[in-house]
């Protein structure tokens, strides 16, 4: 019986230990963001600066833009940092978010095999490149996860007048996965193309035989914006701390910190708060 007693004590102690961090009141906000910002290591660099200054912890849940907007809709996050202007405006129009602020941008790039069978290198025309990929029936791996990148890719196909879901299209593959997973597929699979945000690409390690083939089309501009989840819809949203974060990120200090984040000697995100407002 002594054993049972010991086990019970151990159980109780363990449970308490685990519950303490759960219950402890801490100043934090939840930021729903995209995989690109997390996978590039940007948040690991950026958020501690903010926390040291204000004491507010920012907890990042990194998902695709579509899912991030969904989290905001359900009130499961306080702030969103996403990159799909069309979706964002719809989100605000429906009353789920307020106070959209553009903070930084980078661009999308076309990634493919070094040999480039579709000959898109240096085209500086995303739509043209997409047409060539379709003509050469080279494999194209799509995110297929309703992320910002996926949404942009679908708009580009539309502009190119190609229906990748049409009958007889065998070269178009939907991965239903994050950017990194898609790049891993490319690295393993050989001759496929995809479209990626620059930050993930620069940070990506497993590049076997992959190369950045085309960039520079203005259509590939990738704007990131902050949105506050509507506190009127979700009263538990930590409006005060969330605004503190949004203010700091758009402040000269926060903007400067964004521009100073470099990987492989390249700037991943260019600050542009207030440029379009």
């Amino acid at each position: 019986m002594n054993n049972i007693h010991k086990i019970r004590m151990f159980l109780g102690a363990l449970f308490l230990c685990l519950m303490i961090p759960v219950c402890a009141a801490q100043q934090f906000i939840t930021l729903a963001s995209t995989t690109s910002t997390q996978a590039s290591g940007f948040f690991d660099y950026y958020l501690p600066i903010f926390q040291n200054k204000t004491g507010v912890e920012v907890r990042v849940v990194a998902v695709g833009t579509g899912q991030a907007l969904k989290l905001g809709e359900n009130g499961d996050a306080d702030v969103l940092l996403v990159h799909d202007k069309v979706g964002e405006l719809k989100f605000i129009e429906e009353g789920f978010g307020v106070d959209r602020r553009e903070v930084m941008f980078n661009d999308f790039v076309l990634i493919g095999p070094e040999a480039d069978p579709a000959k898109i290198t240096g085209l500086k025309d995303a739509v043209g490149a997409f047409q060539r990929i379709a003509e050469s029936k080279s494999e194209f791996v799509s995110r297929g996860d309703d992320s910002g990148t996926h949404r942009l890719e679908l708009r580009l196909w539309k502009e190119a007048n190609i229906d990748p879901h049409g009958d007889g299209v065998t070269w178009y593959k939907e991965a239903g996965a994050g950017m990194g997973a898609v790049l891993n597929m490319l690295a393993a699979g050989g001759n496929a193309y995809t479209i990626s945000d620059r930050a993930t690409w620069i940070a990506f390690e497993n590049r076997k035989g992959l190369a950045l083939l085309d960039e520079g089309d203005p259509r590939l501009f990738n704007q990131y914006a902050l949105i506050l989840v509507n506190p009127e819809k979700h009263p538990h949203v930590k409006k005060e701390q969330a605004l503190m974060f949004m203010d700091w990120m758009t402040s000269p200090e926060g903007q400067k910190a964004i521009g100073e984040f470099k990987l492989r000697d390249q700037v991943l995100f260019t600050p542009n708060a207030g440029a379009n407002q």
Partner: protein, 268 residues
């Protein structure tokens, strides 16, 4: 380890055949490449473990904490549910057994999604504010593991019941007493059941990723870090984390089976 041994073995085989058949040479080259990257991961894993990297310790600690708590809670529920199912007959018991056995294979992602919908601010338990906390992860793993533990312990208790029930009745035990006695008599087998549950909990990623959110310092566990490192294309680091996960699982199993052997030797 096994993988390594396997690759070594196949490599030897391939080397043997390469003299006569060139396609095997190609295979061999690829296997050597794979082996090299796995070796690299092993090195990295050893370095990470020797370093006692604080972030790694935190992740390992959280992994173990979440999964152990979930398994302990699931054991309390699962053992009693299993014992009740073993000892009592009531209408619908067979149906419950079928469902329970099916739920042993619940897909973690589905559980994660369900728990997300429950704990979301828009869901019925939203007010608890548990989403994206270790508590949510424990909750999800608890749901994942309880049916497994209940179904397996039902089998254990049912077998024991055949052996013990006449004796216990004769000694004058009531139903509750029987249940508790059988649970105690089956303690060694039930430890194995718990280990099976722990294995399932600590290795799953689908549920914790959705309800935990993989927040650094907060809900990042071994499996979600592996997913993240894979997304970064950092495959050797991801594999190194996987190796550490296996090593830890081995350690826990070793500790438990050693103490079990000790207990069995006392009783055999």
């Amino acid at each position: 380890m096994f993988l390594y041994a396997y690759l070594l073995f196949t490599n030897m085989l391939v080397y043997h055949y390469s003299i006569i058949d060139w396609p095997f040479k190609y295979v061999k080259r690829n296997i050597i490449k794979a082996m090299q990257s796995i070796l690299e991961s092993f090195k990295m894993a050893i370095n990470l473990m020797l370093d006692l990297n604080p972030l790694l310790l935190e992740i390992v600690g959280l992994s173990l904490g979440v999964s152990l708590t979930a398994v302990l809670l699931a054991s309390v529920c699962g053992f009693f549910a299993g014992a009740l199912l073993a000892l009592c007959s009531f209408p619908g018991r067979q149906a419950i057994l079928v469902i329970l056995n099916a739920f042993m294979g619940l897909p973690p992602v589905a559980v994660g999604l369900t728990v997300y919908l429950l704990l979301s601010r828009a869901g019925p338990l939203g007010d608890w504010g548990l989403l994206f906390t270790p508590g949510a992860m424990i909750f999800a793993q608890w749901i994942l593991v309880t049916p497994l533990i209940a179904a397996l312990s039902r089998q254990v208790i049912e077998d024991l019941n055949v052996e013990y029930r006449e004796l216990l009745w004769s000694l004058g035990a009531n139903r509750l007493g029987m249940l508790l006695t059988l649970l105690w008599e089956g303690r060694l087998s039930l430890t194995t059941v718990m280990l099976a549950g722990f294995g399932r909990a600590v290795a799953e990623v689908g549920a914790v990723l959705i309800v935990g959110g993989n927040i650094v310092h907060h809900t990042r566990v071994m499996t979600t870090s592996i997913v993240l490192e894979t997304a970064k294309g950092n495959l050797s680091q991801a594999l190194a984390l996987g190796i550490i996960l296996i090593v830890i699982a081995c350690l826990i199993n070793a500790v438990i089976s050693i103490s079990k052997n000790y207990a069995e030797r006392a009783s055999a």
